[in-house]
Structure formats: structure tokens, C-alpha cells
Amino acid sequence: MPDISIWTDYFGIYMKGFGNTVAASVIALLGSFAIGTIIAVFRISSVKPLRWAGTAYVEFIRNIPLLLVIFVFYYGLPSIGITLSGFICGTIGLMVYTASFVAEAIRAGIMSVPAGQTEAARASGLSYTGTMRHVVLPQAIKIVIPPLSNQFINLVKNSSILGVFAGFDLMYYGDQVAGKTYATFDTYLFVALLYLVLTLPLSYAALRLERRLAGNG
């Protein structure tokens, strides 16, 4: 039996970390979705420099360990006079890193929308942006939900890396409690449960959304 007192005695501390993990995840999720969408549109653009920029972003960022991406913000920025907290560096790093995977998922979704859709929209006088926004992306998003929910679940779990940078997240406080009490297993068991509290509803929500959108078209 796990020692429940480890959970109850330090509940407030866990919750502080939990709150920060939620905050980091939500910010990074929304940010990576926005950046990823823009990068995806860049990657399929007919304008060469945009295409190159998009490809460079994806290939550099997704092929570097997350830890090193955060290093850039944590150790790199101070050298040009910008010092940000571990929480902010970790969240930005997570956002930038996840965006490269989101971009690839969205690009695949866009490519799977038949060319005739774009032709019909463009022929009616819609601009490229209008065509993307009203015709292509709404169809792509349906296809993209399963791979995207994968990325977002990974994001929540990857946020545990904030602990390395004094990001005051769930993992950070878990380390603190474990160090203090030496009840390593019981502490991290609770930490794991708290991550599940975040990720399981995310999985469920993705499944619901997928079913709902499958309804029409």
C-alpha cells in the first residue's frame, strides 16, 4: 500500500506544481497549434522563401532533443542580455518544439484535402488565405485530430522537463517532496496520477471531437 500521508501532507505543494504544469501545457498547446499551423502553411506555400523557412524550422527543431531546444532559451538568451525564468524558457521551448510536430501533422492534413477544393474556392474569387481558412483547413482539421491529440498528450508529459530548469511544475515539486521524505516511489506514484488527470481527459476529448466532426461530410 502506498503511504497516503505523503500525498496528503504535501498536497498543497503538489497542487502548486500541478497548476504550473497546467499553465505551461495550455500556453504551449495553444502556442504550438498557432505556430504549427503557420509553419504548415509556409511549407506548402508557392512562395519559395516561405517554403524554405518552414522546412528549415521543422527539420531543425524536430531533430534536436527538447532539452537542447530549451537550453537555447535558458542559456542562449542571457548571452544577449535577456534572462527569463525557468518556467518561461521551458514553456517557450516546449511550444517551439511541439510546433514542429504539429506543423507536420497539419501539413499532412492539408495535403489530404483534394486539389479540387482549392480550385473551386480560388475560381470563385477567394484569396489563398480565404481558401485556406474557409475551405481547406476546416476539412484538414478533421483528419488531423488523431495525430494532433498524440502531440498534445506528448506535450503535457514533456512539460515535466520544466523540473530541470526550476520551472516549479509538478515534476519539480515531486522532486522536492521525494528529496525531503525519501518516499521516492509513493511520491512519484502520485505525480504520475496527477499527469493522468491531465492526459486522460485530453485523450477522451480528442475522441469525442473526432466522432462529432465525422458526423458530416
Binding site: 480550385e119 478533421k142 458530416n216
Partner: protein
């Protein structure tokens, strides 16, 4: 209204359109026929710049289609297009398929766009399908929605790219009837089709293409009764035999 002058188009090594000269006057119905791969669809798609030309000049309403300074989106407002595979937006209801461009391109307020959409849906005979999704409609109904979608922009020209080729034989008539009505009402139309009956009945002129070239242009009575060119004669013999 539409004028091709010495238009050439290449896809890499492939010479798709060869020295095309064609003028379409306002209110005229021109039907383009010919074997598959003869460049009919490409010719049509050049008019609204879904395809670009390699050389020569192509103007619509005196506007150079391929000019750098041409606002292509503005030009396209006046050119409706109907595709072989309908290309309706599957995620939008029928009515929302039709109101999209009027609202987003012309900035027409929603109630007015809805009223216009209903008017054209009634006109093509499926006013009762406004709240359906395209996948709930038959092919013929979908193509009629596509025509209504094109008309809702109140275009000066309508382009039809094999509008009945993907339909069950039973559905062909209902789509052609709508097109014939449009033709009678004076719409400027360019139609690529294999429906010789339609060409005979609705066309002012028939354009026969083969291997990227316009081989013959003639009024339908002449073209079907006694085509001047051997290639046209052979084509007609093959398609009219059954």
C-alpha cells in the same frame, strides 16, 4: 468577351495548346468537343487562370488574364466555374456552399446572400435541399448546387468543364436542362462536354479540338451535318455511332 490570340501552352516538353485563336462574344454559347487529351479542359482552365499560358495573349473583358498587374481574384468574381467532380465543400451545408464566395469575396451581408442562394437553388430545382450536406445529395443534385454556387456570384461568364461526365446516365438530363435554360437566358457560356445532343441544341458555335489545336469552329448545324475536317468527321463518326 473572351479572346485567345496565338496562345501556346507547354507542360515541360508537352505542347498542350497550339496557337489557339478564339473569340467568344457576350451572350454566346460555345461548346468545345474533341477526344480526351486534346486540350479542351486546359483551354477552359486558362480563362480563369487555373492554368497559365506560355505565350500569346488571353483577355477576358479586355483584361489581360496573365498580366502581373491583373487582380486575378477580382477577375474571377465574374467567371463562374462548374467542375466535372462538382467540388462542393463537404463540410458546409448546401446553402453555405453557395453563400461563401458572395459573403467573403463580395462582402454581401448574410441575409441577402442567403436570399440570393435560395433564389438560385429554386432556379436549379432543389430549393428543398438547402440544409443538406453535399454527401446527402445525388450526383445530379450536387452538380446543380455547383451551378447555383457559380451563379450566385452573378458572373458574366460561366465555364463548364465536363459537367456531366461524372454523372449516372439518369442524372445527365437534369443538369443539361439547367444549362440549356441558362443558355436561353443569354449567359455567356463555354462548355467542354461529350454531350453532342447538348452541343447541337444549345451551342451557337462548336469548337472541335484535337492534339492541342483548334481544328474546326462551326455552327452546330454545319458541324454535325458536314464537318469540314477529316479529323472532325472521324471523331463524330465514332461518338455518334451509338
Amino acid at each position: 468577351m473572351i479572346e485567345f490570340r496565338q496562345v501556346e501552352k507547354h507542360y515541360g516538353d508537352f505542347h498542350v495548346l497550339k496557337t489557339i485563336d478564339l473569340r467568344v462574344a457576350q451572350g454566346e454559347v460555345v461548346v468545345v468537343v474533341g477526344p480526351s487529351g486534346s486540350g479542351k479542359s486546359t483551354l477552359l482552365r486558362c480563362i480563369n487562370r487555373l492554368e497559365t499560358i506560355t505565350s500569346g495573349s488571353l483577355t477576358v473583358d479586355e483584361v489581360k488574364v496573365n498580366d502581373k498587374g491583373t487582380d486575378i481574384n477580382k477577375l474571377r468574381r465574374d467567371i463562374g466555374m462548374v467542375f466535372q467532380h462538382f467540388n462542393l465543400y463537404p463540410h458546409r451545408k448546401v446553402i453555405d456552399n453557395i453563400t461563401l464566395a458572395p459573403m467573403k469575396v463580395l462582402g454581401i451581408p448574410k441575409p441577402e446572400a442567403m436570399a440570393t442562394a435560395m433564389f438560385y437553388l429554386e432556379k436549379v430545382g432543389i430549393g428543398d435541399k438547402a440544409d443538406r450536406y453535399p454527401s446527402q445529395l445525388s450526383g445530379g443534385q450536387q452538380q446543380r448546387v455547383a451551378i447555383a454556387r457559380g451563379l450566385a456570384m452573378k458572373p458574366k461568364i460561366m465555364l463548364f468543364d465536363e459537367p456531366t461526365s461524372a454523372l449516372d446516365p439518369e442524372m445527365v438530363g437534369e443538369v443539361l436542362d439547367v444549362m440549356k435554360t441558362l443558355a436561353r437566358e443569354g449567359m455567356t457560356m463555354l462548355v467542354v462536354t461529350h454531350e453532342m445532343g447538348f452541343a447541337r441544341e444549345a451551342a451557337d458555335r462548336v469548337v472541335f479540338m484535337d492534339e492541342g489545336r483548334i481544328v474546326e469552329i462551326a455552327p452546330p448545324e454545319e458541324f454535325f451535318a458536314q464537318p469540314r475536317e477529316d479529323r472532325a468527321r472521324l471523331f463524330l463518326k465514332r461518338v455518334l455511332r451509338h
